[in-house]
Symmetry: C2
Subunit: 100 residues, 2 copies
DNA sequence: AAGATATATGAATAATATTTCATATGAAAT
DNA sequence: ATTTCATATGAAATATTATTCATATATCTT
Protein backbone atom coordinates (compact mmCIF):
# COMPACT_ATOMS: atom_id res chain seq x y z
CA UNK A 1 0.00 0.00 0.00
CA UNK A 2 1.14 3.47 -0.88
CA UNK A 3 2.34 5.68 1.98
CA UNK A 4 0.56 8.89 2.89
CA UNK A 5 2.34 12.19 2.47
CA UNK A 6 4.27 13.56 5.44
CA UNK A 7 1.65 16.24 5.66
CA UNK A 8 -1.12 13.70 6.07
CA UNK A 9 0.70 11.85 8.83
CA UNK A 10 1.32 15.15 10.53
CA UNK A 11 -2.34 16.18 10.35
CA UNK A 12 -3.41 12.87 11.74
CA UNK A 13 -1.03 12.88 14.69
CA UNK A 14 -1.70 16.52 15.41
CA UNK A 15 -5.30 15.61 15.89
CA UNK A 16 -4.49 13.12 18.60
CA UNK A 17 -1.81 15.19 20.30
CA UNK A 18 -4.15 16.68 22.83
CA UNK A 19 -5.17 15.47 26.29
CA UNK A 20 -8.83 16.35 25.95
CA UNK A 21 -9.15 14.57 22.64
CA UNK A 22 -7.49 11.52 24.14
CA UNK A 23 -9.93 11.63 27.06
CA UNK A 24 -12.81 11.76 24.62
CA UNK A 25 -11.39 8.78 22.76
CA UNK A 26 -11.14 6.85 26.02
CA UNK A 27 -14.80 7.46 26.74
CA UNK A 28 -15.91 6.67 23.20
CA UNK A 29 -14.01 3.39 23.31
CA UNK A 30 -16.68 2.19 25.73
CA UNK A 31 -19.81 3.57 24.11
CA UNK A 32 -21.15 6.27 21.83
CA UNK A 33 -22.07 9.55 23.51
CA UNK A 34 -23.67 12.90 22.90
CA UNK A 35 -21.82 16.17 23.36
CA UNK A 36 -23.65 16.91 26.60
CA UNK A 37 -22.90 13.43 27.92
CA UNK A 38 -19.18 13.85 27.22
CA UNK A 39 -19.32 17.32 28.67
CA UNK A 40 -20.80 16.03 31.92
CA UNK A 41 -18.48 13.03 32.21
CA UNK A 42 -15.41 15.20 31.73
CA UNK A 43 -16.83 18.11 33.66
CA UNK A 44 -15.92 20.54 30.93
CA UNK A 45 -17.91 23.17 29.15
CA UNK A 46 -19.78 22.19 26.04
CA UNK A 47 -18.02 24.42 23.54
CA UNK A 48 -14.70 22.96 24.49
CA UNK A 49 -15.99 19.49 23.77
CA UNK A 50 -17.55 20.64 20.51
CA UNK A 51 -14.31 22.19 19.32
CA UNK A 52 -12.42 19.02 20.17
CA UNK A 53 -14.96 16.82 18.42
CA UNK A 54 -14.94 19.06 15.40
CA UNK A 55 -11.25 18.55 14.66
CA UNK A 56 -11.51 14.86 15.38
CA UNK A 57 -14.37 14.57 12.95
CA UNK A 58 -12.42 16.48 10.29
CA UNK A 59 -9.77 13.84 10.55
CA UNK A 60 -12.19 10.93 10.56
CA UNK A 61 -11.25 9.94 14.08
CA UNK A 62 -14.88 10.14 15.18
CA UNK A 63 -18.21 10.08 13.39
CA UNK A 64 -21.53 11.53 14.41
CA UNK A 65 -25.14 10.84 13.79
CA UNK A 66 -28.10 13.03 14.58
CA UNK A 67 -30.57 11.83 17.18
CA UNK A 68 -33.23 14.43 17.74
CA UNK A 69 -31.55 17.46 19.18
CA UNK A 70 -28.54 15.45 20.12
CA UNK A 71 -25.54 14.51 18.07
CA UNK A 72 -24.18 11.13 18.98
CA UNK A 73 -20.46 10.65 18.51
CA UNK A 74 -18.72 7.35 17.97
CA UNK A 75 -15.08 6.37 17.65
CA UNK A 76 -13.52 5.18 14.42
CA UNK A 77 -12.46 1.93 16.01
CA UNK A 78 -11.07 0.48 12.81
CA UNK A 79 -8.22 2.98 12.85
CA UNK A 80 -7.92 4.06 16.46
CA UNK A 81 -8.10 0.80 18.41
CA UNK A 82 -5.14 -0.89 16.69
CA UNK A 83 -3.00 2.22 17.00
CA UNK A 84 -3.66 2.45 20.72
CA UNK A 85 -2.80 -1.23 21.08
CA UNK A 86 0.56 -0.67 19.42
CA UNK A 87 1.26 2.18 21.80
CA UNK A 88 0.29 -0.03 24.75
CA UNK A 89 3.09 -2.36 23.71
CA UNK A 90 5.54 0.47 23.03
CA UNK A 91 8.07 1.21 25.72
CA UNK A 92 6.47 4.45 26.78
CA UNK A 93 8.43 4.54 29.99
CA UNK A 94 10.99 6.45 27.96
CA UNK A 95 8.54 9.27 27.41
CA UNK A 96 10.21 11.26 30.13
CA UNK A 97 8.59 14.61 29.66
CA UNK A 98 6.18 15.55 32.38
CA UNK A 99 2.74 16.97 31.93
CA UNK A 100 1.46 19.20 34.68
CA UNK B 1 -2.93 -6.05 27.41
CA UNK B 2 -3.43 -3.16 29.77
CA UNK B 3 -4.07 0.25 28.21
CA UNK B 4 -1.68 3.15 28.71
CA UNK B 5 -2.83 6.21 30.60
CA UNK B 6 -4.34 9.07 28.61
CA UNK B 7 -1.26 11.02 29.47
CA UNK B 8 1.01 8.45 27.88
CA UNK B 9 -1.00 8.36 24.67
CA UNK B 10 -0.92 12.12 24.61
CA UNK B 11 2.84 12.28 25.06
CA UNK B 12 3.35 9.76 22.33
CA UNK B 13 1.15 11.50 19.78
CA UNK B 14 2.52 14.89 20.69
CA UNK B 15 5.91 13.62 19.70
CA UNK B 16 4.75 12.75 16.22
CA UNK B 17 2.58 15.81 15.71
CA UNK B 18 5.26 17.80 13.99
CA UNK B 19 6.15 18.05 10.31
CA UNK B 20 9.90 17.99 10.80
CA UNK B 21 9.75 14.93 13.00
CA UNK B 22 7.63 13.19 10.39
CA UNK B 23 10.14 14.11 7.70
CA UNK B 24 12.89 12.63 9.81
CA UNK B 25 10.86 9.46 10.26
CA UNK B 26 10.39 9.23 6.50
CA UNK B 27 14.12 9.38 5.94
CA UNK B 28 14.92 6.94 8.73
CA UNK B 29 12.43 4.46 7.29
CA UNK B 30 14.92 3.95 4.46
CA UNK B 31 18.19 3.87 6.37
CA UNK B 32 19.93 5.01 9.53
CA UNK B 33 21.51 8.45 9.39
CA UNK B 34 23.70 10.83 11.31
CA UNK B 35 22.52 14.26 12.40
CA UNK B 36 24.56 15.99 9.71
CA UNK B 37 23.22 13.64 7.06
CA UNK B 38 19.63 14.42 8.06
CA UNK B 39 20.48 18.08 8.26
CA UNK B 40 21.80 18.07 4.68
CA UNK B 41 18.97 16.00 3.24
CA UNK B 42 16.35 18.27 4.78
CA UNK B 43 18.37 21.40 4.22
CA UNK B 44 17.84 22.53 7.79
CA UNK B 45 20.24 23.69 10.44
CA UNK B 46 21.78 21.12 12.69
CA UNK B 47 20.40 22.32 16.01
CA UNK B 48 16.88 22.09 14.70
CA UNK B 49 17.45 18.47 13.77
CA UNK B 50 19.08 17.76 17.11
CA UNK B 51 16.15 19.23 19.03
CA UNK B 52 13.73 17.16 16.99
CA UNK B 53 15.73 13.98 17.48
CA UNK B 54 16.02 14.66 21.17
CA UNK B 55 12.27 14.56 21.79
CA UNK B 56 11.86 11.57 19.53
CA UNK B 57 14.52 9.74 21.46
CA UNK B 58 12.86 10.63 24.76
CA UNK B 59 9.76 8.90 23.52
CA UNK B 60 11.59 5.90 22.15
CA UNK B 61 10.62 6.73 18.59
CA UNK B 62 14.27 6.70 17.51
CA UNK B 63 17.47 5.25 18.93
CA UNK B 64 21.04 6.35 18.46
CA UNK B 65 24.43 4.78 18.53
CA UNK B 66 27.78 6.50 18.61
CA UNK B 67 30.08 6.12 15.62
CA UNK B 68 33.22 8.12 16.10
CA UNK B 69 32.21 11.72 16.22
CA UNK B 70 28.88 10.93 14.65
CA UNK B 71 25.68 9.79 16.26
CA UNK B 72 23.73 7.46 14.02
CA UNK B 73 19.97 7.55 14.45
CA UNK B 74 17.61 4.74 13.59
CA UNK B 75 13.85 4.42 13.64
CA UNK B 76 11.97 2.26 16.10
CA UNK B 77 10.38 0.28 13.31
CA UNK B 78 8.62 -2.11 15.63
CA UNK B 79 6.28 0.64 16.81
CA UNK B 80 6.33 3.22 14.04
CA UNK B 81 5.98 1.16 10.88
CA UNK B 82 2.69 -0.54 11.81
CA UNK B 83 1.18 2.73 12.97
CA UNK B 84 2.05 4.44 9.69
CA UNK B 85 0.52 1.51 7.82
CA UNK B 86 -2.74 1.91 9.69
CA UNK B 87 -2.80 5.58 8.81
CA UNK B 88 -2.11 4.73 5.16
CA UNK B 89 -5.33 2.73 5.20
CA UNK B 90 -7.23 5.39 7.15
CA UNK B 91 -9.47 7.67 5.16
CA UNK B 92 -7.24 10.68 5.53
CA UNK B 93 -9.01 12.54 2.76
CA UNK B 94 -11.23 13.79 5.56
CA UNK B 95 -8.31 15.61 7.14
CA UNK B 96 -9.48 18.84 5.62
CA UNK B 97 -7.35 21.32 7.51
CA UNK B 98 -4.68 22.92 5.43
CA UNK B 99 -1.09 23.32 6.40
CA UNK B 100 0.71 26.29 4.95
C1' DA C 1 -44.06 30.85 15.77
C1' DA C 2 -42.00 31.26 20.36
C1' DG C 3 -39.41 29.02 23.87
C1' DA C 4 -36.28 25.53 25.34
C1' DT C 5 -32.56 22.41 24.72
C1' DA C 6 -28.45 20.69 22.20
C1' DT C 7 -24.69 21.72 19.57
C1' DA C 8 -21.58 24.59 16.65
C1' DT C 9 -18.80 28.50 15.49
C1' DG C 10 -15.90 32.86 15.50
C1' DA C 11 -12.67 35.55 17.45
C1' DA C 12 -9.91 37.37 21.19
C1' DT C 13 -6.97 35.69 24.64
C1' DA C 14 -4.11 32.41 26.90
C1' DA C 15 -1.16 28.53 26.82
C1' DT C 16 2.24 25.69 24.55
C1' DA C 17 5.54 24.32 21.20
C1' DT C 18 9.08 25.46 17.81
C1' DT C 19 12.80 28.08 15.97
C1' DT C 20 16.86 30.40 16.30
C1' DC C 21 21.26 31.56 17.76
C1' DA C 22 24.90 31.49 20.80
C1' DT C 23 27.46 28.38 23.13
C1' DA C 24 28.72 23.97 25.37
C1' DT C 25 30.27 19.20 25.07
C1' DG C 26 32.57 15.30 23.18
C1' DA C 27 35.40 12.58 20.10
C1' DA C 28 39.15 12.26 16.96
C1' DA C 29 43.31 14.07 14.70
C1' DT C 30 47.48 16.62 14.69
C1' DA D 1 46.84 20.04 24.53
C1' DT D 2 44.94 22.41 20.69
C1' DT D 3 42.21 22.31 16.70
C1' DT D 4 38.50 20.50 14.15
C1' DC D 5 34.32 18.28 13.24
C1' DA D 6 29.83 16.43 15.04
C1' DT D 7 26.27 16.97 18.04
C1' DA D 8 23.67 18.80 22.08
C1' DT D 9 21.64 22.28 24.95
C1' DG D 10 19.61 26.68 26.99
C1' DA D 11 17.00 30.48 26.56
C1' DA D 12 14.83 34.27 24.18
C1' DA D 13 11.97 35.18 20.35
C1' DT D 14 8.40 33.51 17.44
C1' DA D 15 4.77 30.68 15.83
C1' DT D 16 1.11 27.50 16.66
C1' DT D 17 -2.70 25.66 19.16
C1' DA D 18 -6.19 25.58 22.75
C1' DT D 19 -9.48 27.93 25.70
C1' DT D 20 -12.99 30.94 26.59
C1' DC D 21 -17.03 33.43 25.99
C1' DA D 22 -20.47 35.39 23.33
C1' DT D 23 -23.48 34.17 19.97
C1' DA D 24 -25.43 31.51 16.07
C1' DT D 25 -27.91 27.51 14.34
C1' DA D 26 -30.82 23.52 14.49
C1' DT D 27 -34.27 20.55 16.45
C1' DC D 28 -38.01 19.65 19.24
C1' DT D 29 -42.12 21.03 22.11
C1' DT D 30 -45.93 23.74 23.12
Amino acid sequence: MKSCSSNTYHLFFRNLANPLRIDIISLLKEKTMSVTELSKKLNLEQSKISHALSSMKNCNVVESKQNGKQRIYSLNKKTITPILKIIDKHKCRFCKEEIK
